[in-house]
């Protein structure tokens, strides 16, 4: 076991890079299983990165080696909890994937329906249809009822 006074070694940095790169690539997929695998890969890479924040050395057990030769315990404690949390997250996402399969027959993440509606409105050059219905001015004797903007602008467009 060598003393890591010189900081991280190139090999470890490459391992972090590869894990993050592959994790991110999978994260951008649609299948929840792939996303989950991406999360795990990313998690491994980031855990390794956090560990690199402390120096390497002998196991931090007091009495076995002098304190100056020990590896840094603080990032290890952080990574240890992170590892277990990742396990919990994995189980949770798997449950989500199962639920998705159970309900829709696959585990793909679908597009948000309301967002797609807005996109369609934008393609058709329309506005949201909120509050354009209701009674006309004639049913409304005590009111000064302006015609809805959309209808009037359309009508004007037809007249031209």
């Amino acid at each position: 076991m060598t003393r890591g006074e010189a900081g991280p070694t190139l090999v470890l940095v490459i391992a972090v890079g590869v894990l993050v790169a592959t994790g991110v690539t999978l994260l951008l997929e649609r299948s929840l299983t792939r996303i989950l695998l991406g999360v795990i890969l990313l998690g491994n890479g980031v855990n390794l990165l956090i560990l690199l924040g402390g120096r390497s050395g002998a196991a931090p057990l007091v009495g076995t080696v002098p304190a100056s030769a020990m590896s840094d315990a603080l990032p290890q404690a952080m990574v240890l909890t992170a590892v277990v949390i990742t396990f919990g997250l994995t189980a949770f996402l798997l449950a989500v994937a199962y639920r998705s399969w159970y309900l829709s027959g696959d585990d793909e993440v679908q597009d948000d329906l309301e967002d797609r509606q807005v996109v369609r409105l934008a393609e058709r050059n329309e506005v949201s249809t909120a509050d354009l219905g209701g009674e006309g001015p004639d049913n409304d004797p005590e009111q000064v009822d302006p015609e809805p903007a959309l209808r009037r602008l359309r009508r004007r467009g037809e007249e031209q």
């Binding site: 592959t22 994790g23 057990l61 949770f92 993440v109």
Partner: protein, 944 residues
């Protein structure tokens, strides 16, 4: 003054109760609140008459130097009279205007009183920020009042339009106030005006912004459109908000700030131009209306333009004329609105095309209306005449403005006549309208207002004395208000105005085509609609372009930002050190290659199982890296977690399709890979940069000593977890409990508590001597059953559990601890489940997962509390020395109990996962009638 505000608040809060009890009559009681304002103002007449001020200050937010600073001078005194007096009369009127049981009456009454309170606050605020708060309160309350008929689209539209326009103006005004206050150093208006304002470009901007707010509130051009639309409000609201109170707030602000700001750059040009345009165009538009309420609304717009010109002019003469006009307008316009409300009730219409002969059947009403309209037209000897003549007299030196005023006033005369003619005249060809006699309670308020305008004319000299201190803010005042000044130019102009108005009314027939054609610039609502429509479209386009609803796109955006910002910064600064070792230990290279190959293959894998196993390999590789780095605890946990992850994955993958669905387009795949590579490079760069970034010694340098001295343990990592940073761990096990609950709630369709699955019936009779290795095993399908697996499981299960306890107890001094112990125990349960099925799981763990999780959390929290009891600090470790026969002396550390809690939580988590993703999914399979599939059963030909 604070008493008045509190009184309004109390009245507003109690209004719903009062209305529920007494119906509309409760408004009579509520009218006492604005009446109190009126009375207060009357009582303090003496104090402001001599030019003094009534001041009250209460500390509010000292950190912002924001006090409730209240100050009443002549202008605010006048506004208090109007707000209180008209408010009280409108409430009295409302008591009859609304029927018993009207929908939303309780809300109406409460909001109207609250609005009156907000108006009081607005006019008495000395602090500009406080003024802004009340300003926006009036906006909000007016929104509720205009939108009184919530079921009507028009009403909601009008309310939203008023809110949008006035709030935008208000925000501009706030920025203006902040500019002013920042440069002067105080938001207290009396302080700001005490010394000359510091000049500079900011002043121009501030003046423009403040005027934007004031003009928007008063519906002056170019913000006119909301006021006619706001006539969707009930008539009492129109009378109060749109004649006497809210729209006057803008004019009031112009009057309040005028003494200090009028000399500043754009003030006079803006007020004069905007005011004159509004005056003329509003009057022109009023001539076109057939709806009497709309006619009055455009008339109000026109008059507000006039007030803006006069109060914005910033001369003593104009100021005196302006406040007189302010008073006169409130009196006649509120009265006229109330008259229209009565017409609406009694005659059933307020459209002049439907009305005929109303004057004959309702002479008192007609008289009241005639008095008010005459004051509006400026007929002597009413107050309107006095004010109008003062206005004309104040501008004799400025012919262009004067010409505009004369034209506008002539239009005012014309629409005043049109109002009276439309409402009360007998028209040939129109059926005489049936008019019910108006109730006295509704007739009294407008009558009082009209008579006040009538009586104030002859008393103009006395009135002028009261209003004089305001005009003196602009300089010495020579002019006096009077009914008769002698033959002056203003008198001649007044005559011209009256004659012109009459002529305009007489030629209304020939004028009609021009009226219908020439609508700009205040005729319609198109400007507002165009802007809101464009805005809506813009929002749709932006939302549509940025929020496509696709998860990969969102994540991609986040990651690209990660690459560009920290990555770009890194490229610019290059914070890493040169000269970096390739490896500490050649084994690292081997492990790195294994990790890299497995990770790359996992990206390309098409089968779920393959991808999962490859990812598992990277996990084990990472664990090896931990070992080589000197982190045995992390490595142990990582090994265990990786194993458990694979087991859990397999449980779910048996249900999902074997292969991933068809790969999407090639191009997007390369985009993903590009982002991935870039993110990987940035993270690698960060890893390098972080190594060189340390400047201070790590806090963990002291951990080894602390671990022994205060944590009584030699495994520094474990002591860190259970003592030094125990709060982190506490939070983490809480997360685990939540996760476990989440997993269960996603899988279980029913409660997961209740009786656990027991094997159906006895599978073994007592006479049967055959050894049964796992009791649940008999419930499995023959094809799934493996006797060897069952035997091995039976033999090692208890040993493994014992080992997990060893890890738990020895973890304080050597690698191990609650996390790894719990994972080992969880793996033992997993093996038991895999070998014997869900009944076996119930046999081996006859307690609910929730119970285990809860017990674990309780033990951890309890040990923290124990530390509190024994040493006075939560989660503090305490050493307890004990003695047992045979064992001898030994000690326990309280943090061991914390670790036992962690152990239980982890066991509970695994158990919950097995119950959900294992046993419950099994049940789903059986319920669906499919044969339960073994883990090793190949499912060729079944891919998606």
């Amino acid at each position: 003054m604070l008493v008045l505000l509190i009184l309004h608040l109390v009245a507003a809060l109690s209004a719903p109760l009062l209305v529920r009890r007494w119906g509309p009559r409760a408004c009579l009681l509520l009218a006492l609140a604005p009446a109190a304002t009126f009375g207060w103002a009357v009582a303090h007449t003496g104090a402001v008459r001599a030019g003094g001020a009534v001041v009250e200050t209460y500390p509010w937010v000292p950190e912002l130097q924001l006090d409730v600073a209240l100050r009443v001078t002549t202008l605010s005194w006048l506004m208090l009279l109007l707000v209180g007096g008209v408010g009280a009369l409108v409430l009295v009127y409302s008591a009859r205007y609304f029927h018993a049981g009207s929908v939303g009456l309780a809300r109406f009454a409460a909001v109207l009183v609250a609005f009156a309170g907000a108006m009081v606050g607005l006019v008495v605020s000395d602090d500009l920020l406080l003024l802004y708060v009340f300003w926006e309160l009036t906006t909000v309350f007016s929104y509720l009042l205009i939108g009184h008929s919530t079921e009507r689209r028009s009403s909601r539209w009008a309310a939203a339009q008023a809110l949008t326009v006035t709030t935008l103006g208000g925000l501009a005004m706030l920025v203006g106030f902040l500019l002013l206050g920042h440069h002067v150093g105080s938001y207290r208006w009396s302080v700001v005006t005490a010394a000359p304002l510091p000049g500079g470009g900011y002043l121009v901007v501030a003046v423009l912004l403040v005027l934007t707010g004031a003009l928007a509130k008063s519906a002056v051009f170019p913000f006119t459109s909301w006021l006619p639309v706001a006539m969707a409000a009930p008539t009492p609201v129109s009378a109060y908000l749109h004649a006497a109170a809210m729209v006057k707030a803008g004019v009031f602000l112009v009057g309040l700030l005028g003494p200090a700001l009028a000399p500043a750059g754009p003030w006079r040009p803006v007020t004069v131009v905007a005011g004159l345009v509004t005056l003329v165009a509003g009057g022109w538009a009023a001539l076109r209306q057939t709806d009497l309420k709309l006619l009055l609304a455009y008339g109000t717009v026109s008059q507000l333009g006039l007030l803006t010109v006069v109060l914005g002019a910033g001369t003593p003469k104009a100021a005196l004329a302006g406040v007189a006009m302010l008073l006169a307008h409130a009196l006649f316009k509120a009265a006229l609105f109330l008259v229209v409300g009565i017409l609406d009730h009694s005659a059933g219409s307020r459209d002049l095309r439907d009305l005929s002969g109303v004057g004959r059947s309702a002479p008192v009403l007609a008289t009241v209306a005639a008095l008010a309209a005459a004051s509006m037209a400026g007929v002597p000897p009413l107050l309107g005449f006095v004010a109008k003549e003062a206005v004309l007299g104040a501008f004799t030196g400025r012919p262009v403005v004067l010409a505009g005023l004369v034209v506008g006033s002539a239009l005012t005369v014309a629409y005043s006549i049109r109002f009276l003619w439309g409402a009360f005249a007998s028209r040939p060809g129109v059926e005489v309208t049936d008019v019910e006699p108006p109730p006295a309670a509704m007739l009294v308020p407008p009558a009082l207002l009209a008579v006040a305008g009538f009586a104030a004319g002859p008393a103009a000299g006395w009135l002028g004395g009261l209003l004089r201190p305001y005009a003196e803010l602009f300089g010495p005042v020579e002019e006096k208000l009077a009914l008769w000044h002698g033959p002056t130019a203003a008198l001649g102009l007044s005559a011209v105005v009256l004659a012109g108005g009459v002529v305009l009314h007489l030629v209304r027939g020939p004028l009609a085509p021009a009226l219908t054609r020439l609508r700009a610039p205040v005729g319609g609502n198109q400007g507002y609609e165009w802007i809101t429509h464009r805005f809506d479209r813009f929002a749709i386009e932006v939302t549509g372009a940025t929020q496509r609803g696709a998860l990969p796109q969102y994540l991609g955006t986040v990651l690209v930002v990660l690459v560009l910002v920290p990555g770009g910064a890194m490229l610019l600064t290059r914070p890493w050190r040169t000269g970096i070792a390739v490896w500490d230990n050649p084994t690292q290279l081997v492990v790195c290659v294994v990790i890299a190959v497995a990770a790359l293959l996992a990206v390309g894998a098409r089968r779920r199982l393959t991808a999962m196993l490859l990812v598992g390999v990277t996990g084990y590789g990472t664990a090896m890296m931990f070992v080589l780095y000197g982190a045995p605890d992390v490595a142990l946990t990582q090994f265990l977690v990786e194993t458990a992850t694979i087991a859990v994955f397999v449980l779910v993958l048996r249900r999902l399709p074997e292969r991933f669905s068809a790969r999407p387009l090639r191009r997007s795949r390369w985009v993903r890979r590009g982002i991935g590579v870039a993110a990987g490079l940035v993270m690698a760069g960060l890893a390098l940069a972080a190594a060189g970034a340390r400047r201070e010694p790590s806090v963990s340098a002291a951990f080894p000593d602390l671990a022994v001295a205060q944590g009584y343990g030699r495994n520094v990592v474990n002591v860190t977890l259970v003592d030094i940073r125990a709060w982190d761990t506490m939070g983490e096990i809480a997360v685990l409990v939540v996760t476990a609950t989440g997993v269960a709630s996603l899988i279980f369709e029913r409660s997961r508590t209740g009786p656990r699955p027991r094997r159906p019936g006895p599978v073994r009779s007592r006479r049967d001597r055959r050894t049964v290795w796992l009791r649940g095993g008999a419930t499995l399908h023959e094809r799934r059953r493996s006797i060897v697996f069952e035997v091995v499981t039976r033999l090692i299960f208890h040993t493994v559990l014992l080992f997990s306890l060893f890890l738990l107890f020895s973890g304080h001094n050597s690698p191990g601890g609650g996390f790894s112990g719990g994972l080992v125990a969880g793996l033992a349960l997993t093996v038991r489940y895999l070998a014997g099925g869900r009944y076996e799981l119930a046999e081996s763990a006859p307690v609910g997962a929730g119970t285990v999780l809860g017990a674990g959390l309780a033990v951890s929290v309890g040990s923290g509390a124990l530390g509190l009891l024994l040493s006075g600090q939560v989660l503090e470790s305490v050493k307890i020395n004990l003695w047992l026969p045979l064992v001898g002396h030994f000690y326990l550390v309280t943090s061991l109990f914390f670790d036992i809690g962690v152990y239980l939580v982890v066991v509970g988590l695994v158990l919950d996962i097995l119950r959900s993703l294992g046993a419950e999914v099994d049940r789903h399979v059986e319920a669906a009638g499919e044969p339960a599939r073994g883990l090793a059963v190949q499912r060729e030909g079944e891919s998606s």
